[in-house]
Symmetry: D3
Subunit: 136 residues, 6 copies
């Protein structure tokens, strides 16, 4: 079994808050991340897949296919967007790094199995100091 | 003469658009950066100052003082904010990397001269692929 | 289950040596790392924790709380210090990257469980070419 | 049990192609990586080993010994070479990142066990966006 | 005056040698870089341009236009190619980092002036330890 | 004229203090950097030289010669050492990043001119957030 990781990037706005909280409570729980005027990040996404090497090509899967799939399924929806307002798979969810990683997993798991591999890990970096990993 | 550079970071939302343009024209000129729902970046700021080494301390200036000044004058205003809506020194300006660099220069030039050094360069990185530099 | 990683940094002096070895033997076993006048590093620490996402906040734990805990329990003791002479949890131990990782694990495992998560991995980078990982 | 990782680098030429394919088919399957005139990369190799800390030295193994071993067994053969034409352990194999990782594993597993540790993972980065991992 | 830098990347094979030298002399002068079977690098290119900010757009030039120009004029010719054999603007020149930087300058200087800016610097990184800069 | 930069690294201990200051005054002026038990850093050094490209080799100077020179003249003296106690060219000087850059310049300027180039800039990074540059 071999593991392959592809890095992709998206730049997005978001806000951490609950509509059922007052502004004061949102500020207390989420700090400056609750700013009603939004803020944003250069997110970095690492998608790790696993499976057997195809002896015909030497590849687990062609990385161009993997990159195209990640771009069409998730980057297109996230890049230069507002995660709270515009991303279908984040609707009704808090836009935390944890939930973004889980949301991306759900978008990619089946399409990647259709490529002939298995999704192993979604890693989302929000800043150089913070990242979340989800293994399904 | 010696040059010292301090790196600071801020995460912010912004949008590139002109209110006197139609949505179509904004999209044509500014592309996906004109998204009315905002997007954002992890900006990296490099502030370079120059001057003589103080023979008493071996410093051009104490980097803690420089960092405190940058934080109080510009990072505090930009971090986890919306550059178009909330940053006084960007009011009425297009929130391009070029203009952010020029805006930060204007905030820092006099305070840095009060520290006993001279501002040399403001470098603002919007992504790993793009940055602007302003030398006054 | 979700995994979250927080990066922190500390700059410290250390020396690899055994007091029961002669200088020659220390030099033979530990090379230039045994220099009696010390040397030092910019260490990078990655703390990975795991657990369930809190549906109220979207967080595993609030990263500000995690960062505060790491700083108060380990960074405060290590940063700008001499690991051999000043760090209580390294007393009587060789100041290798391996032992630093194990020492930090022991300091953080219980406090992190008090935050409502489980410590998963301590990763300590000594240089850009070397790092140690400990999983308990 | 502790894990230690050593980073090494090699700059090499390669080409992805099958001699039993026509040029057209090679181009279709392998894209621009099939260029008959070769292209190349700055490969980054991370070798992770695991085992018990030696209480005498505080080391899993001396990293200088690990680095020397990696250099003599694999870097010497790969660096500034043509992976398709000159590397004995890649003979008859497609020079994909997957196969390079597997090939390096086979070269290092026994020598590392002779150092008193166990090979855990070979990670090979071809670009900043792509890497393969092999765990045996 | 503002300066803007765009990063682009290309992966290429090359060899340092003179056809009028013997193999021994090439090896003596160029070391392992003279390997007749080629080797390669992940080159990183930084293109810095300068000029006035357009008050209509807030841009020196639109970075998408700059990136498109760099890709069509130089990256397309270099990426996944053999610099010695396939790159028109390197014909008859030693494929050193210095000459690659000068060659790229000559390709880009006029097209960038047609964009309404002035080429300021071409920086080419061959490895993480080496880079060349050319200012015309 | 072409510019070439070589990166080298050294890991060292140091302390910022004046023997004619009391411990309290050292702490007030230099903060935690004045710790009498030392601390340390992974320093990164960038040496930039300039001159004409040699049409015979395509090089400004052979980077192997430049690297050997930097290692024999400065890295050998600094790496795994105590900058305050063991480095001849820092004797009697405050071990600030500014003074380290100036000290390295003085060691390298003449030897580099003997290589047939001119020293242009010494850049010393103390952490990922701080660096000094000296142009002579």
């Amino acid at each position: 079994m071999i593991f392959i990781t592809r890095r992709e990037r998206f730049n997005a706005a978001h806000r951490l808050f609950r509509p059922d909280y007052s502004d004061e409570k949102n500020l207390k729980v989420f700090g400056k991340c609750s700013n009603p005027n939004w803020h944003g990040h250069n997110y970095t996404l690492f998608v790790t897949i696993k499976g057997e090497v195809d002896t015909e090509t030497g590849f687990l899967v062609n990385l161009k296919d993997l990159s195209d799939l990640i771009n069409s399924m998730v980057i297109r929806k996230l890049d230069h967007c507002n995660i709270n307002l515009e991303v279908d798979f984040m609707e009704g969810k808090l836009a935390s790094t944890e939930n973004i990683a889980i949301g991306i997993w759900k978008e990619l798991a089946i399409p990647i199995s259709n490529l002939g591999a298995q999704l192993h890990c979604i890693q989302v970096h929000e800043t150089e100091n913070n990242f979340a990993e989800y293994f399904g």
